[in-house]
Each structure stands twice: as C-alpha cells, then as structure tokens.
C-alpha cells in the first residue's frame, strides 16, 4: 500500500514540476520581452551579441549552405533529368532553400554554435551566484542578460537565413550549371519565375520564430541551471546545455511543421 502511495506521490510531483516549469518558462519570456523596454540601455550590448550570434556564425552558415545547395543541385539534377526537365533545377533548389532548408538549417546551426554557448554562459553566472548579485544590486537580470540577446538573435537569424539562401543558390548553380551542364539562363529564369514574395516572407517569418524559440529555451535552461535540484555544480550547467540544444532543435523542427501548416 505504501508503495502505491509512493508511486502516486512521485507521479504527482513529476506532473507538478512540469506544470510549474512551463509556467515559469512563460513568465521568463514575458519578463524578457518586457525587459527590452526597460533600463539599462542595450544598444552596445545588442551589438556585442550580434557579433557573437551573427558575424561569428558566417563561416559555419556559409559552409553548410554551400554544401546543402550543392547536394540539392546534384539530387535535383538526377531526379529531373529522368523527366527531361533539367531547366526546373533552379526553381527546385531555390524553393527548397527559401521555404524550408534555409530557415531550419541556419536555426539548427546557430543553436549548436551560439545557443549552447549562451546557455553555458548564463548557467555559469547562475552557479557562481552572479545572477543573485545582479538582483541584489537592483538590476533586472532579464533586462540585463536575456533581452539584449533576444533582440540580437531576432535581428541576426533572419539575416543569416537570407545569407544561407543566397549561398545555397550559388552552390546549386555551381553544381548544376558548371559541373552538370544545365543551361544557366534556364536555371536563373526558372528560379525567378517560381519564387514569389510569399515564399521569401514565409522564410523570414519562420526564421524570426526560430530565433525566438532557440533563444528562449537556451537562456531559460541556463538561467535555471541547477535551481530545481537545489545545487549549483558544473554538471548542472553541462546538463542544462545539453537539454537546451536538444529541446531547441526539436522545438525548431516541430515549430517548422506548425508554421508551414499555418502559413501555407
């Protein structure tokens, strides 16, 4: 009988912890968005974080984009050539990149590169009690630590996505036209005819959504690293970082499905 009570207790605690965690994440996002409009001033802080999230991600995004575009060019060519319609290669590469792969892959790469670092940085501030120190000095930690990063990622990720799309299109062009001999005019013309503004705007909306998702999850996980366990050790930061990257990546893929079904 006591075992059943114990099991029920554990189940209840598990459920309550998750409900509490979800509510806390919602309040965290609310405080972060409110922090954008509250002191301290954030311009220089936003610029610094844009350098970290945006400029330093250029190379990894460029490489990923080039090879994604090139593999799309290869696969597209071998599929389309069966139907004698290689001229559609430009449209196939551009539409797949702009609508789906650009926003999703750049968000995943930025989560892996910048999101994990942000989570670890804030997690270390938590275990070293620097966040408590900020509160003691009457500085809102959300407005000081999280809001500038949110603004920076909301600006940086759509720009990185656009960069990803353009580099991917160039990669597809190099493989399709230079390597496999597709007509260059047909590649560019097919691309221009098939891509509409609605495709471009869908990519931008998705990248803004993914920027919000990955930053929210990574900063939240870092901010509360070890708080629930009641101990502040390095292993809590490493667990928080792993959780942050895994949950962000899954959230980006789920968010992509939801956003596509709403925007189509």
């Amino acid at each position: 009988m006591t075992d059943v009570w114990h099991l029920l207790n554990q189940l209840g605690r598990w459920g309550l912890n998750h409900v509490r965690g979800t509510g806390r994440a919602g309040v965290f996002l609310y405080e972060t968005v409110r922090g954008i409009f509250r002191p301290p001033k954030k311009f220089h802080s936003v610029v610094r974080h844009m350098y970290f999230i945006g400029t330093k991600s250029f190379f990894v995004i460029g490489f990923t984009a080039a090879f994604t575009g090139m593999v799309l060019g290869l696969q597209g060519y071998y599929t389309l050539s069966k139907f004698g319609s290689e001229g559609l290669l430009g449209a196939a590469v551009a539409l797949s990149l702009i609508r789906e792969l650009g926003p999703v892959l750049s968000a995943l790469m930025v989560t892996g590169r910048a999101g994990s670092a942000i989570c670890a940085e804030i997690g270390i501030m938590r275990i070293e009690e620097q966040i408590d120190a900020l509160e003691c000095m009457a500085i809102d930690p959300h407005a000081y630590l999280v809001s500038p990063r949110l603004v920076a990622s909301l600006i940086a990720l759509p720009l990185l996505t656009a960069f990803f799309d353009v580099v991917g299109i160039v990669g597809g062009y190099l493989v399709g036209v230079a390597l496999l001999g597709v007509n260059p005019g047909a590649y560019v013309d097919g691309m221009q005819k098939s891509v509409e503004w609605v495709d471009v705007s869908m990519g931008i909306v998705k990248s803004i959504l993914f920027a919000l998702l990955f930053l929210w999850i990574c900063t939240y996980k870092g901010y509360y690293a070890g708080v629930d366990e009641g101990r502040f050790g390095p292993e809590d930061v490493s667990r928080a970082t792993t959780d942050a990257v895994v949950i962000s990546s899954v959230a980006i893929l789920v968010g992509d499905y939801v956003a596509t079904s709403l925007l189509l």
Binding site: A94, I98, L159, A162, V195, V200
Partner: protein, 150 residues
C-alpha cells in the same frame, strides 16, 4: 576607441551589410517585390471560361512578359480577370486570349497588339477576349465521332 570595439563594430556592420544585401536580392530579384509600382496599372477582362488559369499567371505580348494575373472573380456568370500590366500601353482593340505553355503547361494570357490610337486607361476593360481551347471537348468530339461544326 580601442581595437577590440572597432573589430566588433566592423564585424557587425559587415554582417548587417551582407545580410541586408541577401534579403534585398531575395525580395526584389527573386520575390519580385515592387516598392514604387514602376508605372504598373490594372486592366480587367471578361471571359466566358478561365478553366486552368491561376493568379500570378503571366500576361504576355509577342511572347514577352508584360504583366501578371492579379485576381480572378465571378461576375454575372462570367469570369472577370484583373491584370497588372507593367507600364506597357495597351491599345483599345487588343485581344486577350488564354493559352497553354506546351501541351500540358500552365495557362497564361496572351495579349495581341491592336491598331487603335486610343489606349486602355488604368482600371479600363479589354473588350475582345478568347476563352481557352477546350482540349478535352475536342478529343471527345474526335473520339466519339460527333464532328458536326458548332
């Protein structure tokens, strides 16, 4: 201003510049966004049938694209198609006909040039129109042998 902040600010400036250039390329070149309209104007055409024609289909004259289909709606049992023309003047007696690219391609509107001195004003109407060729009906007539002329 120390060297470190110069690097950060230059890096962010470069990032913003490249990112914005990419957004502009995607929007203006591929997405076909027109900020100032560029002398675009609308004309309407009434067809008895527009089956297969879709919004954003091309409008061509002598094979050159001069506009896009902006809207298709039903009015008194006829289909009324609104065309966005990219600043090319259209004579009053032009003929708009719905054609197909290749055998199974998309439908588009071909406008044949007129001879009148009068131009169609913005929001004016194209009077002469031809509906698309009904290939199924033609094949049906051929297969089932009803060759009487309509």
């Amino acid at each position: 201003m120390n060297r470190q902040s110069w690097t950060v600010e230059t890096g962010v400036g470069l990032f913003l510049l490249i990112g914005l250039v990419c957004v502009a390329y995607l929007s203006f070149n591929l997405g076909d966004v027109r900020l100032w309209g560029g002398g675009d104007y609308m004309v309407h055409a009434r067809f008895s049938n527009v089956s297969g024609l879709k919004k954003k289909a091309s409008v061509t004259m002598a094979g050159v694209e001069i506009g896009r289909v902006e809207d298709i709606r039903l009015e008194d049992g006829d289909a009324v198609v609104t065309l966005r023309i990219y600043g090319v003047p259209l004579e009053e007696d032009v003929i708009a006909s719905i054609k197909t690219m290749g055998i199974i391609g998309d439908k588009y509107i071909a406008v044949s040039a007129g001879a009148s001195d009068e131009r169609i004003p913005p929001n004016g109407w194209i009077r002469e129109t031809q509906p698309p060729l009904d290939v199924e009906e033609l094949i049906g007539r051929f297969v089932f042998g009803s060759m009487e002329k309509k």
